[in-house]
């Protein structure tokens, strides 16, 4: 009995604590439906006047959301595909060769995972290559900065893929690139899913690199639009909140449908660092 009662207390405590996450989220959601005047109180009360359509269409109209949405999709999609292809191949060579040279490379990768990018020098370098302000610049930078963590994910995975598979394939006559693309790559589905999730959430939510490198309104990502939008509309909380919701919806949908992958993908990335 005592134990049962204690468990009930823990359940109640947990649910109360979850309010710390739930309440702020609900405030943002509810106030995104209100009129400007009502939203400025930021109360948790149900909206008196539903301003749902107006707020959201206004955000799409002035917030440049649709352009930014496609920009974000393009940047995130390209970066993630590049990361999966480049890291799975690189990591395969690094793990299988296991030489002094590849051990040195792993030290460099470790440094890349821990240390910050020297952003100003990188900026000037890309400026001289005529790449600043272009999607290509940020895509390449996302690949370069996430290369270490994703490569380590794959190296960890290859540690568990027996060399006997390689040897059997080689004896059967599958060699070189064929060995990787026809024999090894099909085995990578679970780790590709992890890399996909980690890359998607990181790039989609990134703000810093986009702020430095995409300085034209037509190139803004969703993260940038919401930042500048909040700066312009500093008191129209109904619109700012609507914008925040729109920006977060894609990740929330993925979270709802692929929660297991998201949780394991993001924590795998964390452990590697």
């Amino acid at each position: 009995m005592n134990l049962k009662l204690k468990k009930w207390w823990l359940e109640i405590m947990g649910v109360c604590l979850s309010g710390l996450v739930v309440l702020p989220s609900i405030i943002v959601l509810i106030n995104s439906f209100k009129t400007e005047g009502e939203a400025s109180d930021m109360s948790i009360a149900w909206p008196k006047d539903w301003n749902f359509v107006d707020n959201y269409s206004e955000v799409f109209r002035i917030g440049r959301i649709s352009t930014a949405f496609w920009n974000s999709i393009l940047i995130t999609g390209s970066s993630v595909i590049l990361l999966i292809v480049l890291c799975s191949t690189s990591a395969f060579v690094i793990q299988r060769r296991n030489s002094k040279f590849t051990k040195l490379l792993q030290v460099l990768l470790l440094g890349g995972m821990i240390l910050p990018l020297s952003i100003i020098i990188t900026y000037i370098l890309l400026y001289n290559l005529h790449l600043t302000g272009s999607f290509l610049a940020v895509i390449l930078l996302y690949v370069a900065t996430m290369y270490p963590v994703i490569a380590f994910l794959y190296i960890g995975f290859y540690n568990g893929v027996s060399r006997e598979i390689d040897e059997a394939a080689i004896i059967d006559g599958t060699k070189g690139y064929g060995l990787f693309f026809r024999v090894i790559f099909p085995l990578l589905k679970p780790i590709n899913a992890t890399a996909l999730v980690l890359g998607f959430v990181t790039v989609w939510n990134d703000f810093g690199l986009a702020l430095y490198f995409l300085n034209q309104a037509s190139k803004y990502t969703l993260g940038l639009t919401v930042f500048f939008f909040a700066g312009e509309k500093s008191s129209q909380w109904n619109l700012i909140f609507a914008d925040l919701i729109v920006v977060s919806i894609p990740v929330i949908i993925v979270y709802i449908f692929a929660q297991r992958f998201i949780v394991s993908g993001l924590t795998a990335g964390a452990v590697k660092s």
Partner: protein, 293 residues
């Protein structure tokens, strides 16, 4: 064997990704060691002149940079302590096999997937001194004296920013700790109970030591992330009030916008070295501790 290596694990597969990393990450990092000592002010690497320690002198002479360093350290320490303690607490709670475990895990992990900027902007509303949720809630409970100017008070602002970081990232620690907890064999606790160890003793002598690897990951993750802090500051306070919440990485951005590229690179190099030294020392310290255990 060598021929086998060359053919099947060819450098042709290694190079494309590696090259991007070397050109866009390693080269600029090396370059920073030189350009931090130059008067780099335009986008021309060749016109920059060597100025010795000038940039670092300016950095150390201005109060702003010292404050930025102090703020960065406060943020790093505060967020690391709370991410570990709260994350551990939540993991222990979720490991009790409650009916609500699945719901609680979903909710507590939820902030991790959101963009930092979106979270920071939402909190700028929650921290609003008059209409913000936080102060309204405190007044509702009759705790008016606790209602503060969370992000406009110079003494408080860094702690308010830290709280948002903890809110956003504790879920990662929680999941890692939970995985660690679930891998501890139940019979360790059973035999401890027979030996008469109470809950706290069991936590200290079984749970904590076996969780050490996960604690270490969360600790390093949080330290490194904390020292690099930027997004949350620019979106929540923009370094304000005044310069009260600037951090090292925020200062790099400020120098960049003002075209002080040499100084910005010096600040960036300082951050680079700070992280390198911190990680090296902590790693040494922790691996020595592990040997003792």
């Amino acid at each position: 064997m060598n021929k086998l290596m060359r053919k099947n694990y060819t450098y042709g597969m290694l190079v494309p990704g590696l090259l991007l990393f070397l050109v866009l990450f390693i080269t600029p990092s090396m370059g920073a060691f030189y350009y931090a000592f130059t008067d780099l002010t335009d986008f021309n690497f060749f016109s920059a002149k060597y100025v010795g320690w000038e940039n670092f002198k300016t950095l150390f002479d201005t109060d702003g940079s010292m404050l930025a360093l102090k703020n960065t350290i406060i943020f790093t320490v505060v967020t690391t302590v709370f991410k570990i303690t709260i994350g551990l607490g939540l993991a222990v709670l979720l490991n009790m096999k409650l009916r609500t475990t699945l719901y609680l895990r979903t909710v507590f992990f939820f902030p991790v997937i959101l963009s930092t900027v979106a979270v920071a902007l939402a909190f700028s509303a929650i921290y609003h001194p008059t209409t913000g949720l936080l102060n309204q809630f405190l007044r509702l409970l009759g705790l008016d004296f606790l209602a503060q100017n969370w992000i406009t008070d110079r003494g408080l602002v860094m702690y308010s920013i830290s709280a948002v970081e903890v809110w956003k990232w504790t879920g990662i620690g929680m999941v890692l700790f939970l995985a660690g907890l679930q891998s501890i064999p139940q019979d360790a606790y059973e035999s401890a109970t027979i030996d008469g160890a109470n809950a706290w003793q069991q936590f200290r002598s079984i749970t904590l030591p076996l969780l050490l690897p996960s604690i270490k990951s969360v600790f390093f993750l949080s330290m490194i992330g904390g020292l690099k802090v930027f997004d949350i500051v620019i979106a929540l306070t923009n370094g304000g009030p005044g310069k009260a919440s600037t951090t090292l990485n925020y200062m790099v951005y400020e120098d960049f916008s003002k075209h002080f590229y040499g100084e910005g690179t010096a600040a960036s190099l300082l951050l680079f070295l700070l992280i390198l030294v911190t990680v090296a020392i902590l790693n040494l310290f922790i691996s020595r501790k592990e040997v003792e255990l």
